[in-house]
């Protein structure tokens, strides 16, 4: 587990990350740092400790890995068991006639240190000069000539990375690591670094976000296309309605008016006049039927309000030529709910069938049209106060009833008949409007 990394400053680098290690410590710690000598060598002349990685305990220097007086090479200091107070770190490249490798500017290297604390005894120190720190490397497979082992007082409550100058320029320290295993000191592949994870995370987030956006856009596009299509269909319906209105409706009106003209009454036989009246009446009926079609296909009417208004108009118009009075139980204000064309048309046809049945067969003097809105349903009632009929023997109206059933099931609705001989007839339509799609 990595405990601390170089903070780049020459003071205590631990900041409490590692427990102070006293004389009773039993832990093993690993350290690594990179040194970058500022000048070729520490001074040849006698001087104090120049630069290094130094353990402090109670403000006293104990052990350091670095360079010191006369030691023209990397060494450990102070080590009580050596004469000169320092321990040579087996320089990898001897530079005769001196025993130790010079410290060279522009030749940075890594130093790794293992400290095994032994209670009531000096710690066992292992130092590696320029070890193999590639992934997969271990502390035991390092070349022996770079390994130095010795015992030293390695207690610390602070660790400093210091350079004190002297004739040499000191060191630049970097990439300091403290850990609990040799593996902690190894160079990590870039994909093991936190920033790589951060970048990966960011990239993945961006990719996901991008995909979500793409998906949303695709969906919006599909939605737009669907709406465009619906709009096109609606426009086409409007055009057809308009065409029927302008062309066929006007022609039929013409037929009805011209055949109705009184002017010719004197010149034609009674039979011809009757035929003419029939033509006029037929033309009017045809216009009325077309009126329904035009109303049904015009998308302008795809609302509950328009449907209610039309049912009222239609009912009144149908009863106008009869002696049957009309009672409406249709709310004057209705919620603004879209009702699809097919639903409107089926409702109109079903209501028409029920009204026609009532007018033809019920012998009633009052017909009631009711409309109620509740939840996802509307219910429409056509009720008469006529003679009623036995549902099981309803041969006369059987066809009509079947038609009504068909109309309702086609739009997911249902119909209820309530009738008994002498009790009038009530036809109640339940029409779902929750699932109805709205047309723009």
């Amino acid at each position: 587990m990595m405990l601390v990394c170089d903070n780049g400053e020459g003071q205590d680098i631990l900041h409490g990350a590692i427990q102070p290690q006293g004389s009773n410590s039993t832990t093993t710690l690993y350290f690594r740092f990179r040194v970058d000598p500022i000048s070729d060598s520490a001074s040849k002349s006698i001087a104090d400790f120049e630069a290094g990685f130094m353990f402090f305990y109670n403000g006293e220097e104990h052990m350091a890995i670095g360079s010191t007086r006369v030691a023209w090479a990397y060494c450990a200091w102070p080590v009580s068991k050596t004469e000169k107070g320092f321990q040579d770190l087996n320089s990898a490249r001897p530079d005769p006639p001196y025993r130790w490798e010079y410290i060279r500017a522009n030749e940075p290297l890594y130093i790794a240190v293992k400290v095994q604390y032994v209670p009531s005894h000096e710690a066992h120190i292992t130092a590696w000069l320029s070890p193999d720190l590639a992934q997969g490397a271990t502390e035991v497979n390092q070349p022996t000539n770079i390994v130095t082992q010795f015992d030293a007082n390695a207690t610390f409550d602070q660790i400093h990375l210091i350079h004190r100058g002297g004739v040499g320029g000191g060191w630049r320290f970097s990439q300091m690591i403290a850990g609990t295993s040799f593996e902690d000191l190894l160079f990590r592949h870039f994909w093991q670094e936190w920033w790589f994870f951060a970048i990966c995370g960011t990239v993945m987030l961006a990719v996901v976000a991008g995909m979500v956006r793409l998906f949303e856009r695709r969906r919006a596009l599909v939605q737009i296309q669907r709406l465009e299509k619906e709009r096109a269909v609606a426009a086409e319906r409007t055009r057809i309605a308009q065409d029927i209105h302008d062309e066929v409706g006007v022609s039929l009106t013409k037929i009805s008016k011209l055949s109705d003209l009184k002017e010719f009454n004197g010149n034609v036989s009674e039979a011809d006049a009757a035929a003419r009246r029939t033509i006029a009446a037929t033309a009017r009926d045809t216009i009325r039927a077309m009126d329904e079609i035009v109303w049904a296909i015009n998308p302008e009417n795809d609302t509950l309000k328009e449907m209610a208004d039309y049912l009222v108009y239609f009912t009144k118009d149908l009863l106008r030529s009869t002696t049957i009075s009309c009672k409406l139980e249709v709310p004057l204000s209705l919620p603004d709910i879209p009702v699809a064309t097919e639903v409107r048309h089926s409702v109109l046809m079903a209501v028409k069938e029920a009204l026609n049945n009532a007018v033809k067969h019920s012998a009633s003097n009052e017909i009631q049209l009711g409309l109620e809105v509740g939840g996802n349903w509307i219910s429409i009632v056509v009720a008469d106060n006529g003679k009623g009929f036995n549902l099981d023997q309803a041969s006369e109206v059987g066809n009509g009833l079947e038609n009504i059933h068909k109309r309702m099931s086609g739009i997911g609705g249902r119909v209820e008949f309530t009738t008994e001989p002498g009790q009038g007839t009530s036809v109640k339509f339940h029409v779902p409007i929750g699932t109805v799609k709205s047309i723009l």
């Binding site: 409007t238 008016k257 109303w295 302008e300 009912t315 009144k316 009309c326 409406l328 004057l332």
Partner: protein
């Protein structure tokens, strides 16, 4: 056409009628039918709203039959302008279909009723006599729209143009499907009184039409209509 009008002018008719219709066969047909009635005379006929607006002030008719769909200025707008020129003239709209939105807009603009073009001759002549005389017919489906309209307008209009409780009552009964006769029976009033009430409702509808709120309502409605085309 002119000779028909001339012919009728001599027979001291009681109701002067003008026809505004762009389709010539229907225009001529209407002129003929009106001219045949001893109580009516067709004083003029126009093909466009523009011509009608120029000519009608000189004709001084009692009743104008106005096609709702005219080229150029349409029937609704024509009625609105005409009522400014001749406040007393009664306008009956002509339409092929029950286009309730347009019909209602023309009522707000000042028309006193409407007729489907397929209406038989008798009914047509009846309607002209009725609109000139005792009052304007109002269907249940139109009454429903009128109720909704006054409810809407009531929020922003002064007291003077509001419906009286009796008028409100009559209107709602009408909207609920009752005939004039049934309303009269139910409220213990004469048929004549009911007709007067309806006439007043139309009147208030027209007064409203000059107001700002109505103008707004009309603009919105006509926007809905224009969307259609």
């Amino acid at each position: 056409m002119k000779n028909i009008a001339d012919k009728n002018r001599s027979s001291t008719p009681s109701i002067k009628v003008v026809v505004v219709e762009d389709q010539s066969w229907l225009r001529e047909n209407l002129v003929q039918e009106i001219s045949r009635d001893s109580h009516l005379s067709c004083v003029n006929a126009y093909r466009t709203a523009e011509a009608a607006l120029r000519g009608i002030p000189k004709d001084q008719p009692d009743v104008v039959l106005m096609d709702i769909n005219l080229p150029g200025i349409d029937g609704v707008e024509c009625v609105k302008r005409l009522k400014n020129l001749l406040p007393e003239v009664r306008c009956l709209m002509l339409t092929v279909y029950e286009e309730s939105e347009k019909i209602f807009n023309s009522l707000v603009a000042g028309a006193s009723g409407y007729l489907l073009k397929r209406t038989s001759t008798e009914e047509l002549l009846d309607a002209i006599r009725q609109v000139h005389g005792s009052g304007s017919p109002m269907s249940s489906s139109i009454a429903r729209k009128v109720v909704a309209y006054f409810n809407e307008m009531g929020k922003e209009k002064s007291e003077t143009n509001k419906l009286s409780p009796r008028e409100q009552e009559v209107l709602e009964l009408l909207a609920n499907g009752s005939s004039y006769k049934e309303i009269a029976d139910q409220l213990s009033l004469t048929l004549e009184t009911i007709r007067m009430n309806i006439k007043h409702i139309y009147g208030k509808l027209h007064v409203h039409s000059r107001g700002e709120a109505a103008a707004k309502y009309m603009r919105e409605s006509s926007f809905r209509v224009s969307k259609k085309i």
